[in-house]
Symmetry: C2
Subunit: 355 residues, 2 copies
Amino acid sequence: MSKVLVLPGDGIGPEIVDEAVKVLNVAKQKFGLDVELDEALVGGAAVDAEGDPLPEGTLEKARAADAILFGSIGGPKWDAIERGKRPERGLLRLRSSLGLFANLRPAILFPQLADASSLKPEVVSGLDILIVRELTGGIYFGQPRGIKEENGERVGFNTYVYTESEMRRIAKVAFELAMKRDKRVCSVDKANVLEVTELWKEVVTEEAKAYPEIELSHMYVDNAAMQLVRAPKQFDVIVTGNLFGDILSDEAAMLTGSIGMLPSASLDENRKGLYEPCHGSAPDIAGQGTANPLATIMSLAMLMRYSLERGDVADAIEAAVERVLDQGLRTADIYTEGTRKVGTEEMGNAVAEAL
Amino acid sequence: MSKVLVLPGDGIGPEIVDEAVKVLNVAKQKFGLDVELDEALVGGAAVDAEGDPLPEGTLEKARAADAILFGSIGGPKWDAIERGKRPERGLLRLRSSLGLFANLRPAILFPQLADASSLKPEVVSGLDILIVRELTGGIYFGQPRGIKEENGERVGFNTYVYTESEMRRIAKVAFELAMKRDKRVCSVDKANVLEVTELWKEVVTEEAKAYPEIELSHMYVDNAAMQLVRAPKQFDVIVTGNLFGDILSDEAAMLTGSIGMLPSASLDENRKGLYEPCHGSAPDIAGQGTANPLATIMSLAMLMRYSLERGDVADAIEAAVERVLDQGLRTADIYTEGTRKVGTEEMGNAVAEAL
Ligand SMILES: CC(C)[C@H](C(=O)O)[C@@H](O)C(=O)O
Ligand SMILES: CC(C)[C@H](C(=O)O)[C@@H](O)C(=O)O
């Protein structure tokens, strides 16, 4: 029996997660999966109910689960509250407490949605990049950090730090994943300026020796940000630290023009994982039933593939999404003339049906 | 009398700087400018000659100058030498020693080169963004930094730090520049995770009170990296720290598809400045006479505008560049069918002629 914890969160989170759960229930029946579902509060919703973006009860359930299906968190309502209680801090603590160090962010262009990209079709058609971002270290978690008073003025400071073993284990994940793809890994650093990434480059290079078939390259982060715009198809797998990964994965996702389609997985050492859409909580359209649930449904597919080791179910879910796109169904964010505009629920139903 | 120091540097640096100096000499005559030129070594060339990427003599000349025209530095030849002697360190020390804290990086689409962009024409036509990047602080210069041994393994670390006054002065530069443009400033941070940028956001907001006409907005760096791809024309002036500015300015430059065209200025408190093309030293084509000198010539225009306070000369140089583009002359990097391919020198001559 596998335990899946559902954390809908804030904004459009609950709506889109509902549709993914609908698809999960169909998959359970069809494939005879033994999956037990539970649900808990996280983010702003948890702040409102219990004064903490990651209540102890939620963390306990998360620890007990084999996988977590996550919606999205945050919104203007919680912008003004004290630092430690902001919704994002709940997500950061969850990643860190569960040791979810490997963040997988695919940037894939769906041929049905090629028009949505702001890039020329020839630059992005067939795009299929996997960004592997380190998620529990680096400047996100480095100590010391804070705002202090010095010489009569305020000074803000954070620490960008990585240990050799943190670097090694994320490099390994990238190489393993690349072995199942085009066997090319580009490690992104700023080794010409930052010592921490100088060590990163060295350690990744050492680790690559165990993968003689992998073609490893190195790129400075500023150049990577350029190359993603200039010729994104040159990349297969990109591996980088927490902050650079945050920036580059969002940039890469946007190359496809349909960030409402892109899933992500955050894995620990034992394939336990948290699965969430790449997009945010979109408070402006929350509750209207217009949000695109496909990124969350694609995240469910990743959950099947990585945590439940059911690649067959993952394939079936992804195929169902493709079929619905082929039928011309589109939520507002990916709508173009000549297609049929549908709401969140109708889209979810269509995928469940197609499955 | 104004003193301009020329620092050609490495790779294509000397070739492109030669053409800019040619244009400068024509401008001197035409506008009766009283400018004295000097030259010195920097980067790999200085390492080879004196064992230091920024020799004392070069720094002295730089201190004495009113403005510096800089080519480019670095190349594989110097990749393996010890950290402190790498060409890039010379540039970083120069920026820091002269207090060149305000880096201005325009990302402008030349209508003649609209095809070169990898983005759809409607997304980038008319693009005109100015990125104001803090250049002498942040994680580039923060202490402590290094690689140490801890619990039997190596640990790399850097410090991201800004004082209130550093933040204030760069915000002021951005607001002043925006007042002469569309009066919109977007400050980029990662305030939901990093305390140093939380303070950044606060200080920029305070500083904005002195500019009631300015429309100030804030954006997380990951979102900014996305928005630059999705809808870059939403931006007027972007202000941000050293590292985020490095990444976003390169991304923005690449939106235009012709990074060989883009200049930059690095200014101190008194309008003394260092002017350099956005592109690198391109060792692969160095010495072949094919490099594009226009970014360096456009940097000369910025030098006239900011350090010599001769906006009229700057306008004339920029107009000369436009005229040459209108005539259909193109170096290899911006060549498209139907235009005339020329080398570095022919391009420089054409601009000098047009002026
Ligand atoms: C919400 C925020 C803390 C988070 C991050 O920066 O990691 C988000 O941008 C992401 O990429 O998942
Ligand atoms: C060469 C390097 C140190 C430099 C930087 O990172 O500042 C360059 O990328 C730039 O943007 O001018």
